[in-house]
């Protein structure tokens, strides 16, 4: 949990700097981090708004990059089923890459859904609060951090730390390998469709690998 928070700080700083340099007002910057609550979508929105792209293009691109939430939602669904509806809506609003990775591992380790669900909700609230603070700090003072420090590289490192424990057996490794190759091969697709397509390729490869393993 704590590591995700540490990874979030530089990510939020980068998003805050992006909002500031794209010309968002302080209120708009805060609205973005509070309601969109997705670093990837926020950075894209800032780039496209700064480039004066049509609003429909900006909205559509941010929507496509958020399609991965459909998969996270499906993967969380079995654990959310016994919960009251209000809880499910709250966990959904707070669902991010980090919260998803942390919660799924937690659910799998402890069979106790109630315990797992409060963990998911608590994690989500903590990540959301941290995100508001780091984006706001980035907006006001982020540009004093020298670019040569490449602080934004903490973001993929944080995801890497979440990825490695997910490589638990042969088929999951095949899934990751296929997704990694696909995301580079499909990079020229418009609107960052490469991300969701590579995810689907990886999942298909994992299923095939699992079927073959069982077959022979």
């Amino acid at each position: 949990m704590a590591p995700s928070l540490i990874g979030l700080l530089p990510f939020g700083l980068v998003c805050g700097v992006g909002a500031q340099s794209a010309g968002a007002s302080p209120g708009e910057a805060l609205g973005m981090s509070a309601l969109i609550f997705s670093g990837a979508a926020q950075i894209l929105a800032c780039q496209l708004m700064a480039a004066k792209a049509p609003l429909t293009v900006t909205i559509l691109t941010c929507f496509v990059i958020g399609l991965r939430f459909l998969m996270y939602s499906a993967a969380m669904a079995p654990y959310m089923k016994p919960l009251p509806e209000r809880w499910r809506h709250a966990v959904a609003f707070l669902l991010t890459d980090q919260a998803f990775a942390a919660a799924v591992r937690r659910f799998r380790d402890s069979g106790d859904t109630r315990n797992g669900a409060s963990y998911a909700l608590g994690t989500g609230v903590l990540l959301w609060a941290t995100w508001q603070v780091s984006c706001t700090v980035g907006y006001w003072v982020g540009n004093v951090i020298p670019g040569a420090w490449s602080l934004e590289f903490v973001v993929p490192l944080c995801f890497l730390a979440l990825l490695v424990p997910a490589l638990e057996d042969g088929p999951t490794r095949v899934a990751a390998l296929a997704a990694g190759i696909a995301v580079v091969a499909l990079d020229s697709l418009p609107m960052r469709l490469s991300l969701i397509c590579a995810g689907l390729v990886g999942i298909a490869a994992g299923l095939i690998a699992e079927a073959r393993q069982r077959g022979g």
């Binding site: 929105a45 708004m49 929507f63 958020g66 996270y72 499910r88 990694g180 990886g202």
Partner: protein
């Protein structure tokens, strides 16, 4: 064509679309039984999606410019960080050593 409300239109619409994406299957599978193939496929979501997020941030030196070579400091740093993650399962150590490697390799070139 960004009007005075351009930012707020983007914020509210994308915020709403993101929320609906996040809620989608949590809501659906609360009422409908999950098909067995979907249930089997979900196990691969973390491995596939996290890899698809990590790889572009490491192998592209700038958007669209593939830098798949040992002279790309980010690849060296990511491999070092992956090794740390594999052996320690410690995220703070992974990020710290990954950043340290990046700075050392950048400084050496």
């Amino acid at each position: 064509m960004s009007s005075a409300y351009g930012w707020w239109i983007v914020i509210v619409v994308v915020g709403l679309l993101n929320y609906l994406s996040r809620l989608s299957f949590i809501a659906v599978f609360a009422k409908v039984e999950m098909p067995p193939l979907v249930a089997k496929a979900l196990r691969f979501v973390p491995a596939a999606m996290l890899m698809a997020i990590v790889v572009p941030a490491v192998v592209f030196s700038s958007p669209g410019a593939l830098a798949f070579s040992y002279t790309n400091p980010k690849i060296v740093a990511a491999l070092a960080a992956a090794a740390v993650a594999w052996y320690t399962r410690n995220a703070v150590a992974t990020m710290t050593l990954g950043m340290a490697t990046l700075w050392i390799v950048q400084w050496m070139r």
